[in-house]
């Protein structure tokens, strides 16, 4: 009895891994590369069994989210071809039947949906946590209602136009003012001598003469 049991155990132990090894190929799954040191530098964590367990759990979470509650578990994620690069291949088996694989496209969509959560879990980015074959969805550039450059243009043109108007108006006012004082000068020119040139010179300043000059144009 005991020997039968041990034989069965040995058979199970040998067969299950080989079955799972048979399932785990890059054609049916995805290769993952992690570049932890590149991303985190001095704060990089060691990749070990626990991290791998965490990764499997994250993938299971992604599958659950995508499939809408199907009970994916850590045991459904099969991993092989681990290297020192920190890269490995994984496949996902169906929770209902552990010898059947979930199609690639489903896995891809699940990962795409939860990509940000997976990245954040490992403190990595789209470039440093690389799923070979799954291109990251590029963020669309921000769309503005009014392009910012038009606003800057409007401000500058507003200032410039205000400046032009101010200068033209001041020129016009200056002209009017100088024309007015030229008219006054004309009126005050008695016998060809400007009043201004007489003021301040020796001689009495005759108020009456000046007023008369204004009224009687000689």
């Amino acid at each position: 009895m005991w020997t039968v049991w041990t034989v069965w155990m040995v058979w199970m132990v040998c067969l299950v891994p080989t079955t799972s090894e048979a399932l785990c190929t890059e054609d049916d799954g995805y290769k993952v590369r992690l570049s932890i040191k590149t991303a985190l530098g001095g704060d990089a964590y060691e990749w070990n069994e626990s991290e791998m367990f965490f990764f499997k759990a994250t993938l299971a979470f992604a599958m659950r989210t995508y499939s809408g509650g199907e009970q994916y578990d850590v045991s459904n994620i099969l991993v092989c071809d681990e290297t020192l690069r920190v890269s490995f291949v994984f496949v996902v088996t169906k929770p209902s039947n552990t010898s059947e694989l979930v199609p690639r496209t489903e896995v891809e969509n699940a990962i795409k949906k939860s990509r940000h959560r997976i990245n954040s879990a490992f403190l990595l980015t789209d470039q440093t946590l690389d799923f070979v074959g799954i291109n990251p969805t590029l963020a669309a550039p921000i769309q503005y209602d009014t392009p910012p450059w038009l606003i800057a243009f409007g401000v500058v043109m507003g200032l410039v136009c205000a400046g032009i108007v101010a200068l033209l108006v001041s020129t016009f006012l200056n002209k009017k003012r100088s024309k007015k004082s030229a008219d006054e000068e004309e009126a005050g020119r008695g016998n060809g001598i400007l009043c201004e040139s007489i003021r301040g010179k020796d001689g009495l300043f005759n108020q009456g003469l000046v007023d008369d000059d204004r009224l009687t144009k000689l």
Partner: protein, 635 residues
């Protein structure tokens, strides 16, 4: 006297055309006369410095320096500065200050047959103004676009396919975000000069704003320009200093400086080095445009123009070297970034292919690791197609002209923290540099127009400058079409080169041999600045500077007509894309080239011939004169 030369061309009636020293003294004392004046010396100096220091100091000189032997380029540059630049500058200042007339009237006064020189100056100033302000419009476009985070040229726009995958726009992916933003989003460039591509509305708006800003600064001549230069001439230095401090703290800046200044004395034996140095000195000083003559004619008669010429030359040379230093710290940073990215990419590829742990291959042991891997698995390594990463290649990439400002520098800015701030500062600096040069260019157009009395006398200064700016803006619409950049390159090569050299040469010969050095110009300088110009000035004015200009002109002329006429085009369809493709000019371009270079140059002898014919034929009646000229021309 040893240096007095009997070589002086006959010039009857000169005394009637110019004010004598006594009259000038009286004018100065009474402060009479309608000529505008500078408010103070600082305005005059800043305006001249602004005119001389322009975009060329930032994007032409550093490239020449680097490509002609680095630190060794200083030697021909400084030698030619002293022998060619300073004497010509002093000459223009002195003749403007003495004759107190704009560039057109100065030559008409010296000798009516030399009026062609003034006409040539005006034509060149006009043609250069047209395209120079377009460059300012481009700078404004980038300035307006700098007020957003992230900067629009830092990433490619993204298309969403129907299958839900996102993809970068093809043209952008093949080249780079900065190239795409420049060639597609800014210029919307066509594939060749034949296709106009229509007006690009956003560039039309920027062009209008460039001319509007210029108008508001030039509206009343030097009255408004003199105030504007307090900002436009000083701000670039402030920004350059800020960039220097920022640049020196960036990684890789020192490698840029080392690359720039490492002297290669072998380059001194290359005549092209001396030629380029001479041309750079000449164009950098904005000589022969007529603007400097106009500016100095508004000075008081006893202003020390000799000192001004030396000071401005020193400032110009210093600015060139300073700007080169700043530019190359940033270029060194960018090249180092690119090199690191290139090397990082290669290392990643190797790690991924051979599944080695991270940190096995670093930048320091990359070469050794590559060698050992190549030894063990040569076929795999070959199939990887690793890029060769060479820092020097990155340092020499596209580092002159618009490529420097709008592609290389903008890319470097996107890699710096607080990128929008640096972008705004950089483009404000370029804007100020360009605008202050435009003041001189437009002065070289407006003053001759007033001298020629083309506008009715009742028109105010504001109206004249307004109409001129409006007309130039309308003609400048050529450069904001799809093919505008190709037209601009054409104008730049032909309008602003040969005619200027001819005009500069004629200016020197005109003052020294037609106006007269011994009895007139030397005496004028004694009257103005108090002492006779020493033997250095005599030697350079009479012999050395004209000779240098003649040599440069001949070389330029020969190289221009002997080389093939190609232009480089951005053609996404071409096989070598994103490298720019060389295309031959269509045949009708030769007409345009003749208009650009030929007409100003031919104006110099043309005006003299026309005047000779007119004099010969003006004895009879008006109708007789016309017939007479026609007959003379048919002979």
């Amino acid at each position: 006297m040893g240096w007095s030369t009997k070589l002086k061309l006959p010039n009857p009636g000169l005394d009637e055309r110019i004010l004598s020293h006594a009259q000038l003294e009286k004018l100065e004392v009474e402060e009479a006369g309608e000529r505008p004046k500078w408010d103070n010396k600082a305005q005059y100096m800043l305006t001249c410095v602004g005119f001389c220091v322009g975009l060329g100091n930032v994007w032409r000189f550093p490239y020449l320096c680097q490509s002609h032997g680095g630190g060794a380029f200083m030697i021909p540059f400084l030698i030619l500065l002293v022998l060619e630049g300073i004497p010509l500058l002093h000459l223009e200042f002195a003749i403007g200050q003495r004759l107190r007339k704009g560039s057109m009237d100065v030559w008409r006064t010296i000798n009516p047959y030399m009026m062609g020189v003034g006409l040539a100056s005006m034509c060149v100033s006009l043609l250069v103004s047209l395209y120079y302000n377009t460059i300012i419009a481009w700078v404004l476009w980038y300035f307006f676009n700098s007020f957003q985070e992230p900067l629009p040229w830092s990433q490619c726009p993204v298309n969403a396919n129907r299958s839900g995958t996102t993809k970068q726009v093809w043209e952008c992916e093949r080249s780079s975000p900065v190239d795409y933003f420049w060639y597609r989003k800014t210029l919307n460039i066509t594939t060749d000069i034949d296709q106009t591509g229509g007006l690009q509305w956003w560039m039309v708006l920027c062009l209008i704003s460039a001319w509007a800003v210029l108008y508001v600064c030039c509206i009343r001549g030097i009255e408004t320009t003199g105030k504007a230069v307090y900002v436009t001439s000083t701000l670039p230095y402030v920004v350059l200093t800020i960039f220097l401090i920022r640049g020196l703290t960036l990684k890789g800046s020192v490698s840029g400086l080392v690359f720039l200044f490492t002297p290669d004395l072998n380059e001194l034996a290359n005549p092209a080095t001396w030629l380029d140095a001479g041309a750079q000195v000449f164009y950098s000083f904005s000589l022969a445009f007529g603007g400097l003559i106009s500016f100095s004619s508004y000075n008081s008669i006893h202003n020390n123009c000799e000192q001004d010429a030396v000071i401005i030359s020193i400032i110009n040379a210093f600015t060139s070297v300073f700007a080169a230093t700043v530019i190359y710290t940033i270029i060194g940073f960018r090249a180092t970034q690119r090199f690191d990215d290139c090397l990082g990419g290669n290392i990643l590829t190797l790690l991924n292919t051979f599944d080695l742990p991270e940190g096995n291959i670093t930048e320091s042991n990359y070469d050794l690791a590559l060698e050992s891997l190549n030894a063990t698995n040569p076929d795999i390594v070959n199939r990887l197609n690793l890029q060769t990463c060479d820092l020097n290649t990155f340092l020499t990439e596209g580092v002159e002209g618009t490529g420097l400002a709008f592609i290389v520098f903008t890319e470097a800015i996107t890699k710096m923290p607080l990128a929008p701030l640096w972008s705004v500062l950089f483009f404000v600096m370029l804007f100020c540099l360009g605008l202050s040069s435009m003041f001189g260019n437009i002065e070289g157009v407006l003053t001759p127009l007033q001298d020629l009395k083309i506008f009715p006398k009742s028109w105010t200064k504001e109206a004249i400058s307004g109409v001129t700016c409006l007309l130039c803006c309308c003609i400048g619409l050529i450069f904001v079409q799809g093919s505008g950049n190709y037209w601009l390159a054409l104008f730049d090569s032909f309008a602003g080169s040969i005619p200027l050299l001819i005009t500069g040469f004629c200016e020197m010969v005109g003052v020294v041999y037609v106006y007269g050095m011994d009895s007139r110009f030397n005496e004028d300088l004694v009257f103005m600045i108090g002492h006779k110009p020493n033997i250095f000035w005599q030697a350079t004015w009479r012999v050395i500077s004209p000779l240098i200009m003649l040599v440069i002109f001949l070389f330029y002329f020969v190289t221009t007509i002997s080389k093939e006429f190609f232009y480089i085009a951005w053609d996404p369809e071409s096989a070598k894309f994103p490298t720019l493709e060389q295309k031959p000019y269509p045949t009708w371009i030769y007409v345009i080239i003749f208009i650009l270079a030929g007409i100003p140059s031919l104006a110099v002898p043309g005006a003299a011939i026309f005047r000779a014919l007119w004099k010969r034929c003006s004895v009879g009646e008006e109708s007789d004169s016309v017939h007479c000229i026609k007959n003379s021309l048919l002979i």
